[in-house]
Symmetry: C3
């Protein structure tokens, strides 16, 4: 009976058109062109590599897409237990009517060819969007992205700021900033003008968020203009910066971004806790890891200083999720945001989502985003989340609290979509 | 069948009269006088504020209780998913026969008036105690509480020592200590005498525990008298103390308290891991948060130095609960104590309680306390815990281990009440 | 139905002969000789002590085995909720046909006598191995163990290196090393030769792993020979070493061991996160605890530097297990290894194992080891794990993914045994 009700709620929620509030979609090529675009997702290449396939095999320069798939498929036998591979099989079934239980050296080629044919259709993108129930997809745009050449009401720009905060000491980043804004960096004031220009351009093109990923040891705090200027002028003079000076510059730029989010009315997505290039020999996208010794306590100054800025927060561990539940329960401007990366596994996703549903105001939880690079991934990922959500709604609300089915559904809809609109704005931009 | 057995055990456990071993009850006004005393609980005001209600609305000076409720009720629509609001609805149903599924702008006034009428009855307090199965309630008393004017065998004093340890450098705290003990602070010896006087007065009035809440970075260690005296004399001379001197004083006073617990045979309740005033703009009681980077390792010197003092320990995260399970399994004087604050949510409570039941001696777990400010809260909070406990008893002991129902019940009774008596003493003081 | 299928899978998995890849078995006396060998396991003595039995009672010198049991049994009434005591009862039932639900002062003596009789049989060891389905048992050998006098294809040597890394500054350890290798320590080169001799001897005798347990704050990094030599020469001259010099020596020896694992093709078992002698007054084996503030991030240099060495990793908390899941997902040379010590409780074991099964390549998880000191413990411990494993296979793979029973079983077999062979080698040494 519980399974039946869960199924009903799952189906009912699946009829709700989705806004996917965080992806890495390239709006010029949103859908896959061959199966290699799917199997080339870093979750598969890194797992295949972890299970023994060499990086050279996977990332050989100029590798033909079909050959790349041919090399990856044999590794799947070592990975078929993973939820990531279950997404692959679900995509194969749903989009390409593949009815084998596993993808093997014996059967992959037929799938590859079917996929290639369908993906060549001019309607492929809209087919995927429709089958996946996707109405709108948020992007991750570099600050110097021209934001032109696509429908920004379907593929919504978001300003990604990792380079600005963490690599402004590099001349190439400063050159890109100058080129994008026509502002020559010379001091703190010009830096402020350049950043403001970015916000102007992005918001004019309908951007809905500023976003950044942050290492475990980053601690935002305000920095005085003249302190930042000392560091900036060393960088501009091409002199080496001390670790302290680099940190000063990072904090300064980050704080400026928060001020601009305030001024421009943009939420500031914080993705907290990732160390980059931990595994130096890893495949592209498969080198970063988290450190459990991370706390939101270091963000208290930020949350206190910007009460009008909403901070949708993503974390990488259940330990930090418990902090996030508490911070969202207390701080009006802190919102739970999806289930990120290493946390996006049912075992963790379930307990993390359960605690949020039990203790955080229902208006302050954005249930899920796909983090996808290609459109096809939204379907299996949202299905996975929706199944967990339906199960929790039945268990904790219908059974434990006596809610009726419609009340449970309404909570599900709010978490799945309503709060995306509430925090980031409606699809029509209102 | 599992549900049926869980129900049976739940009902059987509910017939056991409770001792609530940690509350913030004011013994002069233990029960609520209007619904504002219930809806004014910081869990509701902070959640309402987190969901968008301004602090000024909630905490306007001189606000009429009915008006306060009128302002808070509309916010509940954003919170009705939380377990905290489920407690509210359970209190409304049980104490006031309120049969609406939700409290809304349309129906709250009738509840308010019914509650006001019933609460005015001279029997209200005993009605609540009886309906809740409460036999005895432990308090949290400031060190200078005169401890007079109520039945201390029903409302049992406990000496709360946060001010002594963390704010003795403030003249107002020293003045209160001098006034309460008639001992003028001049050196370490006089400080020792003053603290001993407090223990004498509290134990004479039947106090059952010394208690304190501690920040994540506090690390108890012994301090020599003369080191403490250097810090103390600076404080007495109204000179600024360095951070080190403040820490020295804190450690010194804390260690003295442990010595006095030893001398007076009192357990020392440690509530570990809360940072105060993290959210500066929060409502009263809604400003504190925990930091996941907390360990019991810092308490090893204390646990080793005081083998005869029992330390009932409360923690705020599942991560630290796993440490607590291990420390209680090893240290004879470490006891698991309830499910505190941000951990008091079924998702966390269940896994924390499950691990304790599976790995800590049954004599060393005090299942639950309400932490309540008004008597009405014991009922829904203990009901929540008891339901989880009954479920674990059925799943892990009746089914997984083949225990019979009575054996499972006996474990439940011990955790729910027997160990309260074992650690803190019987209700009759023996 | 779910229970029925879980039972079927559990039974099917139980027919698979086991290799136990980490124990503390003494190969000269692998099985128990009296019940005191079982009840003397530190899990029982430390829990009994934690529940109130004095260390003096438990560890009196020259204590008769039967008297020791007589003293421990009464404490069991305080511990019978623990999973550890459930192992005891399962051993009593399975090996000695004891059919009482509890071991008490009234019934223990009969069990003691039955056990003593059976254990005296010359076939006892093989009876236990057979009943437990044990084909091969890995040991933990001190570096100067002569490795002689037993069948090393049944009881497989592993080189335990804690003393070498953490206590080489002690003359007694250096004397043992010199005696074991006939190499006199004089400089870094001779140290390297001595360590290489150990690896030669151990691998000649069929050793399958090098192993070490590590405190939370240890961070492996390469040290130059001459830096190590400065520290080593101070130690050799019997002069005190600074904390930095001790750490330098530790890192140097540890790194050398990793180099030797590489050269000799041995996996390097890392048991990460234990602080020794936290409870100074504890019973033997019951003094060590973990610190939740531990991360694998500190091991990145090691994992990057030795891509050909496999690191089977054991951790003590669910927080660190989540890191381990991510590190095994990314690093080819990182493998999940069992459920260690304080984590070896169903509540934690289940969620830790679930996340591994969902996100780590199936080839990279070694499900379980017993960590036993006496052979009888493998049976209840592996049964506990297998039950959890069967339950997860049914829930997450048969039900959630639609796998058939044989596919689920195959995953179970791989985790339970196949990967032991894959990582450490087949029982026949091939």
């Amino acid at each position: 009976m519980q399974h039946q009700l869960t199924d009903e709620i799952d189906v009912a929620l699946a009829s709700l058109p989705l806004i996917d509030p965080h992806t890495h979609i390239n709006p010029h090529r949103p859908a896959s062109e061959t199966l290699a675009d799917i199997l080339g997702y870093h979750y598969y290449t890194e797992l295949a590599h972890s299970a023994g396939l060499s990086r050279e095999e996977i990332e050989a320069p100029g590798l033909d897409p079909k050959e790349r798939v041919a090399r990856l498929v044999p590794a799947l036998v070592h990975l078929d237990n993973t939820v990531q591979v279950s997404w692959l099989m679900e995509m194969a079934r749903t989009f390409f009517d593949f009815d084998e239980p596993r993808l093997t050296a014996d059967n992959w080629e037929a799938l590859y060819d079917t996929a290639a044919t369908r993906m060549q259709s001019p309607h492929w993108e809209s087919t995927v969007l429709e089958k996946s129930g996707l109405e709108q997809v948020y992007l991750t745009n570099e600050f110097d992205d021209p934001l032109e050449g696509w429908d920004t009401t379907r593929y919504v720009p978001c300003l990604r700021t990792d380079d600005l905060v963490f690599r402004l000491n590099q001349p190439s980043v400063r050159d890109r900033l100058a080129a994008a804004t026509k502002v020559e960096l010379s001091d703190a004031a010009s830096l402020g003008r350049a950043l403001a220009k970015l916000f102007e351009r992005f918001t004019e093109r309908g951007a809905r968020a500023c976003a950044i990923s942050l290492p475990p040891d980053f601690e935002p705090m305000p920095v005085r203009d003249h302190e930042a200027e000392v560091a900036l002028s060393r960088a501009l003079a091409a002199r080496d910066l001390s670790a302290d000076a680099i940190e000063t510059l990072r904090r300064y730029v980050f704080w400026k971004l928060a001020e601009l989010c305030d001024a421009f009315g943009l939420p500031f997505d914080l993705m907290i806790g990732v160390n980059r290039t931990v595994y130096e020999g890893g495949v592209v996208g498969g080198q970063d890891l988290f450190d459990g010794r991370t706390s939101l306590f270091g963000y208290r100054r930020l949350f206190n200083a910007f009460p009008r800025v909403t901070f949708p927060i993503s974390v990488l561990s259940s330990g930090l999720n418990q902090e996030l539940v508490s911070y969202s329960w207390i701080f009006p401007n802190v919102v739970c945001f999806g289930h990120w990366w290493y946390s996006n596994v049912p075992a963790y996703l379930r307990c993390d989502a359960q605690a949020r549903l039990q203790a955080v105001p229902r208006t302050k939880q954005i249930g899920y985003y796909s983090d996808m690079y290609k459109l096809e991934f939204a379907l299996p990922k949202f299905n996975m989340y929706r199944r967990v959500l339906a199960d929790l709604l039945v268990e904790d609300f219908v059974y434990a609290r006596g809610w009726n089915e419609e009340e449970a559904l309404e909570l599900g809809r709010q978490v799945l979509r309503g709060n995306v609109e509430r925090v980031f704005g409606r699809p029509d931009g209102k």
